[in-house]
């Protein structure tokens, strides 16, 4: 976990990502700019992936939790959509409940049996195998989608 000392900047990223949509805009914010703010440790060259950024909380964005925020460009929107569809069904959510990639399962009242059922449904849907240790870090829709894509990719490359 890295402490961010520029909460305003990340707020900016959040607005860009969600007002303008998609992950393309993040590529527009120059990597050098991001590196400058957070150090090269945090910006991986491949895929513009910022990992595990945490910061002292600020108000105004209730969907962002103080403990974890992950900006990632790796999971395809279709994957995120599929995860959301499965989560909706498992938790029998009302249509008006808004789910985004940032939604955390705990906010939806999911218990451990729900989480495990969701993982199992996803395993069947994507024909992958999720190790118990990985499922520890699954707290949000985005994290699940990223993990799925990683496992699908690994499987395609012959690793398991």
């Amino acid at each position: 976990m890295f402490l961010c000392f520029f909460p305003g900047f990340l707020q900016y990223i959040y607005i860009y990502k969600h007002v303008f949509g998609g992950d393309m805009l993040l590529e527009g914010l120059s990597i050098s700019c991001l590196r400058h703010c957070y150090g090269s440790l945090m910006v991986q060259a491949a895929g513009l992936k910022l990992v595990s950024v945490g910061w002292a909380k600020f108000t105004g964005f209730p969907s962002l939790k103080a403990s974890r925020f992950r900006v990632s460009c790796s999971a395809k929107p279709e994957t995120v959509e599929k995860v959301i569809e499965i989560v909706r069904k498992q938790l029998a959510l009302k249509p008006e409940t808004v789910l985004t990639s940032e939604t955390e399962f705990v906010e939806l009242g999911a218990d451990s049996l729900d989480t495990v059922e969701i993982v199992m449904t996803l395993e069947e849907e994507f024909d992958i195998n999720v190790e118990e240790e990985s499922s520890q870090n699954i707290t949000s829709v985005q994290e699940v989608a990223d993990l799925i894509e990683k496992l699908v990719q690994q499987k395609a490359q012959g690793e398991s």
């Binding site: 209730p62 498992q90 009302k94 409940t97 808004v98 906010e107 009242g109 049996l113 495990v116 118990e132």
Partner: protein, 305 residues
């Protein structure tokens, strides 16, 4: 049903009656039924008891029902524990301090002269959409899990069991031919396994369900079946110091409790888990339901008091 307290005062200044601590091998279970809480002013009183962090967590829940549930869970924990303090003295529920252990299990801390130390009072909480339960013990780690009896499993039960449960447990479930009975047995087994990992303080991720087996030995002539746990990862580890109780609660739920056996008593002797169950509306009323048909023991040696 014995009513211990009927107090319709809306002032939280001192309406909570003190409680005697549980004795060794005794669990006190307190539960609330969210549907019984409709008064906005009462819910606001509960909100006032929470720490700023707890309030924030409640407000991030999506929707009124989930927020109410989160609020009731914290209010139940704070008001219940506040009544169990030393020398029968009720403390302000707001003053209680909690922290999480390394795996995220909440525990009560005491402030002492040289910092914080863990309290001998242990608690654990579990909720479903229709019931929130809190179990309290002294000097024994406790895990509690409740599930609705009618809980539907979206996946195929045996496929799920093969994926997550131990071999023995899969075999036990696959021998049940009636699908409804199989579903019920699955839910009961799930609550026992959850109660165990919560008692360990490790939770699901840190104690994968495949690494231990829960066995329910058939009822003996004395009428009670024994529940035992074996660890397949660490066969040499002490698993015979955990005691289980499984019962039907309020006709709607299965509830499992796991606690450490009293070290002072002879381990070979089968000492029952003493159990008191009370339904509560904090600041309003408690109703003791142990010994009624609202608590039906299913497995494990349970003595209701």
């Amino acid at each position: 049903m014995r009513s211990f307290q009927r107090n319709f005062s809306v002032s939280p200044s001192c309406p909570l009656l003190p409680l005697q601590l549980p004795s060794p091998m005794e669990t006190h279970v307190w539960f609330v039924l969210p549907d019984e809480f409709k008064s906005v002013s009462l819910l606001n009183q509960y909100m006032e008891l929470l720490s700023p962090c707890e309030k924030e967590n409640v407000l991030t829940m999506r929707g009124d029902q989930l927020q109410k549930r989160a609020l009731l869970a914290r209010a139940l924990v704070r008001t219940t524990i506040a009544r169990y303090q030393i020398n029968n003295h009720v403390v302000d529920p707001r003053s209680l301090k909690f922290r999480k252990n390394i795996h995220g299990k909440p525990e009560l801390v005491w402030k002492s002269d040289d910092g914080q130390c863990p309290s001998p009072l242990h608690f654990n909480i579990s909720h479903t959409s229709s019931l929130i339960a809190c179990g309290v013990t002294v000097n024994s780690p406790i895990g509690i899990d409740v599930e609705e009896k009618q809980r539907k499993i979206k996946n195929n039960i045996l496929a799920f069991a093969r994926r997550y449960f131990s071999l023995y447990e899969v075999e036990h479930l696959s021998m049940i031919s009636d699908s409804e009975v199989q579903r019920q047995e699955f839910v009961k087994l799930w609550t026992l396994k959850e109660a165990y990992v919560k008692a360990l303080g490790r939770g699901f991720s840190a104690a994968p369900f495949k690494t231990f087996t829960i066995r329910v030995k058939d009822a003996t002539n004395s009428g009670a079946s024994e529940v035992a746990v074996e660890s397949s990862d660490h066969p040499e580890s002490l698993t015979n110091n955990w005691q289980f109780g499984l019962f039907e609660l309020a006709s709607s739920h299965y509830a499992s409790i796991c606690m450490e056996k009293d070290k002072t008593s002879d381990v070979a002797m089968r000492v029952p888990m003493r159990l008191t169950v009370r339904k509560t509306i904090p600041f309003v009323e408690d109703i003791c339901i142990s010994g009624t048909d609202a608590v039906v023991p299913i497995a494990g040696l349970i003595k209701q008091v």
